[in-house]
């Protein structure tokens, strides 16, 4: 079973040379730490920066330079700043190649819910609705089950949707799954996790074809 770091490491393998990538808040943010050093990737943050670098050294924080998680950051050589309309031009115009974000629920048809629990929690969608409506490649990073042990990979989302039929892949603490017309296709198991355990934790239709390899990190 993977921890959050493990999920981030596995997702980092999906990042390819030449990709512009938008990372959501939480686990996705960690992905930047594990991208292969021999490929060229640029991270975009929808609040208006391309070419994000690591956190600043203590004492070098600049209140005017943050990421979408409101964290102080630095920029790398070749970085640029821009306004919100241009930032979403990058996203809506499909110039960003890969979007990695968290979710509360994912449905077997690629629907995603991650912004609202009616009557309980309403943080808002931020840029997530724009990202999922436009991105060609969307990977969800999340735990396979919620705090009550219930599956977050569903036949149908119960919570208000963020986007419809948009998720391409899900990486959880238990598995890597691809969204197909017939449901979640199991691609890889997390280290030490059995197919049976994944089956039990998945409410949505799970497709298991042949031997399912354990992921290598």
């Amino acid at each position: 079973m993977l921890d959050k770091i493990g999920i981030a490491k596995r997702i980092a393998q999906e990042v390819q040379d030449g990709y512009y990538v938008n990372l959501g808040i939480g686990i996705p943010t960690l992905v930047a730490n594990f991208v292969r050093a021999d490929i060229d990737v640029e991270f975009q943050s929808e609040n208006g920066v391309l070419g994000m670098g690591p956190f600043p050294f203590e004492g070098e924080e600049d209140a005017d330079i943050i990421n979408a998680g409101k964290q102080t950051i630095t920029t790398l050589a070749g970085a640029s700043f821009f306004d919100s309309a241009m930032s979403f031009a990058m996203i809506r115009g499909q110039h960003v190649h890969l979007t990695i974000l968290g979710a509360m629920e994912v449905a077997q048809n690629g629907d995603i819910a991650n912004w609202k629990i009616p009557g309980k929690m309403v943080k808002g969608m931020g840029g997530a609705m724009d990202l999922v409506a436009s991105a060609e490649n969307i990977i969800v990073a999340m735990m396979h089950t919620n705090k009550r042990g219930e599956s977050k990979l569903l036949k149908k989302c119960a919570l208000p949707l963020t986007g419809v039929g948009c998720v391409k892949k899900v990486v959880t603490n238990l598995a890597v799954l691809e969204i197909t017309p017939n449901g979640f296709k199991l691609l890889e198991r997390a280290p030490g996790v059995s197919v049976e355990a994944i089956k039990n934790a998945t409410e949505g239709n799970l497709l298991i074809e042949g031997d399912i390899p354990e992921m290598s990190l």
Partner: protein
Amino acid sequence: MINKKVDNVTAALQGVKDDMTMMLGGFGLCGIPENAIAELVKIGVKGLTCISNNAGVDDFGLGLLLQKRQIKKMVSSYVGENDEFERQMLSGELDVELIPQGTLAERCRAAQAGFPAVYTPAGYGTEVAEGKETREFDGKMHVLEHAFKADFAFVKAWKGDAAGNLIFKGTSRNFNPNMCGAAKITVAEVEELVPVGTLNPDHIHIPGIFVQRIFQGATFEKRIEQRTVRTK
């Protein structure tokens, strides 16, 4: 050169009244019009509709107006950092319209640029699209979103001049340029008001035509929301 300079925040906010619709720049606490917000608190206008990506935190930014119950309605994309906000919203004291961030930016830009509405894919198939016109283009569904109509836009820039020209710094740019000229009156507060002619015309992010009033802010706290660092 048409002079937009006003002496201070009080002069800049002349004409602000109860029940008006305000746009406020900023992302989180980054690039927010601190001086205008403080003055709105001081004036005590009520019943405001505020269009702003976030709602500040409990004790800073728009949170200050929420505390005083000056805001009737918020139009935002993300409000996760503000407990008082969540309380007022869940209790029904505050009317909230949550919209996608890119839609928020473009509804501002549409108002600025004279477009009545835009078709965006964001929010299709979700609550956000309920009651709105949807339409297919090239096999993809879109939602028709209308330009905002606002009385005042309050923006914050790094440098500016009396002609109203603005230059922003880093990610404090965010929604600020898109809100300039998107309301009847745009008020810009700058960290530094420089002599006209000293800004390079190629570096100006917002030409003065989009700004009606400009002043140098008395103070800028520029609070950091999430101070993340690494060690040397």
